[in-house]
Symmetry: none
Subunit: 406 residues, 2 copies
């Protein structure tokens, strides 16, 4: 089954809101084995919406609209669907009564314009809206399904989950599509692509690579008759990727580098403290944001200048001897953080960022009572990109250390 | 001039990423008087992309694509544009050399696939990419402009601002739409709306209010033949709003609370240090992100537990006497940060967050050698929203203090 999503609303075309509905729906469809080929966003203009609906009718079996179900004049989704299927809108008495009961709970006179929201065409069934006044539509005609959902994200989501998903699951008996994301760090995208080139050529499962601040991701997508078979196809590719890219893979699916590090620290019952300079607080705030971080993270020190490093306990002589930012200073910062906060491990990041040249170096320090290590990373991009990258590099180094040394 | 945006990428159609590029671009176009009627999202499929480009060619003068400019096989935007305008892609030697120089910085062999990114068609001019390997294209042919931008948001944005906007501004004439955003803190949205109700009724300029983590914003939007006239319309409304909401207004347009505080500190030649607990590093990372923060911000201490507070120099007796988080502890934290880092001002945030109940309290402490102040703020929302709100409250308090006391 092929689907097309049609987000309706001039507020999207003016950039007043980000369309998060499409992302949510796009995530849902593969689980039902439905292919999504197009998202066609259009404004509150009836002619353009009808044209867009007609095109979707030709190239998709399932059309999902979001938005344009409100009570005002520029809400035109119902009218446009009526024109698409050649049916007239009429007020549904039962629906109108329900709407009036709902609106009675709110202050002010019952606005007559709300009657619009009680109109319906013969092919449509109402999808109830528990959160608002805009009921959805489920239209079935000539082997097509049209689902009209409201624009506000929470209303749309609830209606999808309660009123659409169970019905749609019954309808579709086709293939299931499953995805698995494998996350790597350190290798460039083209290099990753080169190493897994033989897998990229397969048509099922497919393999796609894409860049994120925390590394290059690989997405395996498999199509099959059922979940078990799709899972089996994914596992085959995943095993091969694990073998090829093993030292660079740090997580899958929803894993984040800080959650991976957090799990390792908790499993080993180790505590952590940090000191940072060029990352400007991003290291400690990233680690502290982890859901269980209070069980392993005691605190972080941000030094915006050498005096601050000294105030925290780093010996002035180290900066005098080696310079402001380098592996020696990073080592001292990690050790100072660990001693100051009496933790098992100290982690530090320092570095030199040249945002004018979009380049920089980061120095990561790791310290425990058994060992100390430092790493150097080359950074690229604007200031915020480089800071992010330095934090992820530090977490990646800490992860490796926890796996190897502890 | 009519525009159509074509976001390219199967990762959007699978719901793996939210398309924020379109929202950014949609926001930019009205300022140039360009109408956006359609956003047509399509996957990494050449036939479907060419079809979508052809339709856009028929109904728009300006086509902007985002994504599909990477080095891998599923990056097909260049090829599709070539097919649209009937031109062949050839490797540009200069571009290829630049790419090779860039990639030499990364480990591993130079992957031949990157050569793709150095190809070009005769009608295209290269838009340089300072942040990545994917150069953009500016294509002009038969009264159409096609602009191909990369998918990663930061790269796309920088390329738009530096390589596209100045050129596009020259090309387009027509009506100008200007906006001005006025930023307030502390008042609820409904209260703001009530106070400016008479201005909301105007049709030009229009006035809209919306909520942000750093307060309620008011956006004035004016349409006119030229910039001067649009500017005049905006100024009229802005003066009235300034009069009505004065004590709550802290900035306009691109102002952020940290940049406003930064300017005040620099103007008064004062230095700042912070200590925080419940905000988990967000306070220091927000302040340190300011472009000139190194001139006034010396450092920040994050305490994830009472031992950390004590390690930093807060007297244990204060927590024993008053409890872990309260105004007394906030006062001691601000003072300790100031003394430790030898700054003019110490700022602290502590608090109790109850994410299960979506509520909490934040305690802000301010300390200098002349005065000390504390503030209590009630917080609402999920954990990350409450943390953000506490940081903005602290910055708003610091701003007021800098205006009043120093």
């Amino acid at each position: 089954m092929k689907a097309e999503i049609i987000p309706v609303g001039t507020e999207i075309l003016l950039g007043n809101i980000v369309d998060t509905n499409s992302c949510f729906l796009a995530n849902q469809l593969p689980l039902l084995g439905i292919d999504l080929y197009f998202i066609s966003t259009v404004g509150d203009n009836e002619k353009r919406l009808v044209d867009t609906l007609k095109r979707a009718w030709r190239r998709a079996d399932l059309i999902i609209t979001t938005g344009g179900l409100g009570p005002t004049e520029d809400d035109i989704t119902r009218e446009a669907i009526g024109k698409l299927v050649g049916e007239e809108l009429k007020v549904d008495d039962k629906l109108w009564q329900e709407l009036k009961d709902w609106l009675r709970r709110y202050p002010g006179k019952m606005p007559q314009s709300n009657m619009k929201q009680a109109t319906i065409i013969p092919s449509a069934r109402v999808i109830p809206n528990r959160m608002g006044t805009a009921p959805g539509w489920w239209v079935e005609k000539d082997n097509h399904i049209i689902i009209a959902l409201p624009g506000p994200h929470d209303e749309m989501k609830l209606m999808w989950q309660e009123g659409v998903l169970p019905k749609l699951e019954q309808k579709v008996t086709g293939e299931v599509i499953l995805s698995r994301v494998i996350k790597t760090f350190r290798l460039a995208e083209a290099k990753v692509e080169e190493l897994v080139a033989h897998l990229s050529k397969l048509s099922n499962p497919t393999l796609a690579t894409y860049i994120n601040p925390d590394g290059v991701y690989l997405r395996i997508t498999a199509k099959a008759k059922n979940k078990t078979e799709a899972q089996r196809l994914i596992s085959q590719s995943e095993e091969q990727i694990q073998t090829i890219l093993c030292p660079y893979i740090w997580g899958v699916d929803d894993d984040t580098l800080d959650s991976v590090v957090g799990k390792l620290l908790r499993a080993r019952n180790l505590s952590l403290a940090t000191m940072e300079s060029c990352t400007e607080g991003l290291l400690c705030s990233t680690i502290a944001s982890g859901p269980e971080s209070h069980t392993y993270f005691k605190g972080g020190l941000l030094a915006c200048c050498n005096e601050a490093k000294t105030a925290y306990g780093v010996e002035t002589s180290i900066m005098e001897r080696y310079g402001n930012e380098n592996t020696q200073v990073a080592k001292a910062m990690a050790e100072t953080a660990r001693r100051k906060l009496k933790t098992d491990i100290g982690l530090s990041v320092g570095g030199n960022l040249n945002p004018d040249k979009n380049s920089g170096d980061a120095f990561v320090g790791l310290s425990s009572d058994k060992f100390e290590q430092t790493f150097t990373h080359i950074l690229r991009g604007n200031r915020s990109r480089m800071k992010q990258r330095a934090v992820f590099a530090a977490l990646f180094d800490l992860r490796n250390m926890l796996l190897e040394e502890v």
